[in-house]
């Protein structure tokens, strides 16, 4: 069953299994890079972004609605088996947040910051740390697209930041200027990111008129406490704490600030040195990560239920995605059910063959 209207808040149980469309104008703004790759391909094919409403997403949204934002930020961790729909649930929640006017700080995949980095510069501010200019500038670009209206008008810097001998940002300037500086001066982009995070932390949830709520969304948060595959020039391994971006992000994930929420996902697919069968927070975060993230609200994401599977199958039929005549029969449906074993990503990959 399809809901073609834009997202409206309706009662819980009815909504599970139904699809809603994100209008394409909002799509580019909200998720310049945030959606899973296969979903982006599906959007291009079907010419629309249809997200299924599922129980974990609704649960998370209900928690966000009921939370008290005068208290320190709550941490939510979405976990589940590979391909269950954790990233999709996160994106669903973020879309909700952006429609509610929150400031969304979305790190699409923390694992990208921890492996395959082409350039590692020693940090200008601290000698022991390493910078990642490319990733930082890319992220700043996406951040700007998402939160354009916040940056240009409302938020101001609280102190003076000195990037290099000649460049600095004065106090009271709009944050957008800082972000532009970071994008143009690639060398100091990592420091810009750190400063940005600090500013947002200080200013979120204030009592003033133009207070905003901050949603920090990190996908693949277990990357922050795992190992990296990067090496320094003397071939010694780099630990995540040595990277500026990771270090600042970890500070962000501490629940010592008010006026927002921290939404995270665990991910095994991009993780380094973790077995494929690991999906629980204890396994993927490790001891250190678990202690840091504790206390958090765990939200398990599971495979499709019968109703959700039915809904997905009907959606593909409706879009004429299942071309093979046998797949449209009852027999074919049972085969798909068995072979995908109700896993959303496997089902999607199977249907793309047909």
């Amino acid at each position: 069953t399809m809901l073609k209207s834009t997202f409206t808040l309706l009662s819980w149980q009815q909504q599970v299994g139904q699809y809603y469309t994100i209008p394409s104008a909002q799509l580019k703004k909200a998720f310049p890079n945030g959606l899973p790759r296969r979903f982006q391909m599906q959007i291009k094919t079907f010419n629309e972004a249809c997200v299924m409403v599922r129980q974990p997403g609704l649960e998370l949204i209900s928690y966000l609605k009921r939370a008290d934002y005068a208290k320190p930020a709550l941490r939510y961790i979405l976990f589940g088996e590979v391909g269950c729909g954790k990233t999709m649930s996160l994106c669903h929640t973020l879309h909700f947040c952006s429609t509610q006017g929150w400031l969304v700080l979305h790190v699409p995949d923390a694992h990208l910051w921890v492996k395959n980095c082409k350039e590692l510069l020693p940090s200008s501010s601290r000698p022991t740390r390493l910078d990642q200019p490319i990733e930082a500038s890319q992220w700043l670009k996406n951040f700007k697209i998402t939160n354009e209206h916040f940056l240009s008008k409302q938020i101001k810097t609280t102190r003076r930041y000195i990037w290099t001998k000649r460049e600095s940002t004065e106090e009271g300037r709009p944050l957008g200027e800082m972000v532009d500086h970071g994008m143009s001066r690639v060398k100091s982009s990592s420091d810009v990111v750190g400063a940005l995070l600090r500013e947002l932390r200080l200013q979120a949830g204030g009592a003033t008129e133009d207070a905003f709520r901050l949603a920090v969304a990190v996908d693949g948060v277990n990357a922050l406490w795992g190992k990296t595959s990067l090496k320094k020039e003397d071939k010694s391994p780099v630990s995540p704490d040595d990277l500026t971006l990771i270090h600042n992000l970890k500070k962000m994930l501490r629940n010592d600030w008010c006026g927002g929420a921290i939404l995270t996902t665990l991910s095994q697919t991009g993780s380094l040195f973790k077995p494929r069968s690991a999906y629980l927070p204890t396994e993927l975060l490790g001891e250190e990560g678990f202690d840091n993230m504790d206390p958090f609200v765990p939200i398990p994401v599971s495979n499709y239920s019968d109703k959700e599977f039915e809904s997905c199958y009907l959606y593909y039929m409706d879009r004429n995605w299942l071309q093979h005549p046998h797949s449209r029969t009852e027999e074919g449906r049972k085969e798909l059910l068995f072979l995908s074993s109700r896993n959303p990503s496997i089902l999607e990959r199977l249907c793309s063959f047909l």
Partner: protein, 380 residues
Amino acid sequence: MAASSRSVFSSCLNYTRSFSLTSTRTSRQFTRQICVSSRVQVNKAARGPEKFSIEYIRKHAEEFEVGKRRLANMMGEDPETFTQQDVDRSIEYLFPSGLFEKKARPVMKHPELIFPKQTAAQWDKDGRPFHFLFYTGTPSFYSIMHDTFGKVLAIEKHQDQMRSKGALPQDSKQISLGGSRWLLKEELEEVLVENISDQDYSRFLQLMDKLLSLPFCALEEEFVQRFRKQLEIQSTKQEIPDVHCDENGRSYSQAQGRRKTATASVTLRDCGSGRVAVNGKDCLLYFPILQDREQIMFPLHFAGMLGRFDVQAHVEGGGRSAQAGALRLAIARALLSFVSTPAEVETIRQAGLLTADPRIKERQKPGQAGARKKYTWKKR
């Protein structure tokens, strides 16, 4: 020659030993010589195949019966109800052999089964042959052809008579040929105790077909059935596992399957939702490759019972594909107990789901790198 390659114990158990007594002199001294002296040069090849006369075989048959009773007494069982199976079992127990070739092991069977069948004397004392077709070289075969053609002529004559009377029935009874096949050339040779050529065999089949094409061939049904072999329905031999009921009231069945080196044991529970658990993990996690999951799905899909069962499996050994194949066989076997009719069992058998795959890893040969791969060949 055929008999000498197998060890015959029918005489051994009778405690009669044949001494070869040769005395070079006519004195009353008996010398027991074990070996034949070199004076007598025997050309075994020119003698032709060994001939066993009817008296010889009859004598050995009596000895065999007596020996069987003695064996039964030795084993402490009832001599009256001592079957050939019991004889084989006892011999295997008394003479354990480590030989791989089954035909080389000790055997105690009726002489008719051991000695090759030979034709009796074909001519009388004057040299005149008994059979009128003796000079064809294969009298039994040609006599069958002669009889068959005689029957063909008789049937045609009968048909003419019926036609002249005007009582030609429209629906004539045909001999049912389903479930049987013609005897193969080797089987026919065995029946006739003669060698036949391929052309002879094909002529025989043609003549039989001609006989069957006539309308009144039902009269000669018994004659024709002598040359046909009944085929059993393979599925009747299939073992179907039992259905048990656990404490919740769900019925379940268990079966094993093997492929290459992997063994799988499967419990199939009714009233399930199509979930498969392998070694405690979900089927998707244990077999990330689509091909393996398709293999497991095939028996259930073929029988049309996809969403009905819960599968609980334990598998070990082998590789990924071997484990999937073993699971498939085990699931198919366990499925038989939930299948309703024997016809469905037959379809499953014909789909090849119940045949254990006999292929295993081929052995490496000496002088070669692998089973087939040779070392580099150098011309000189």
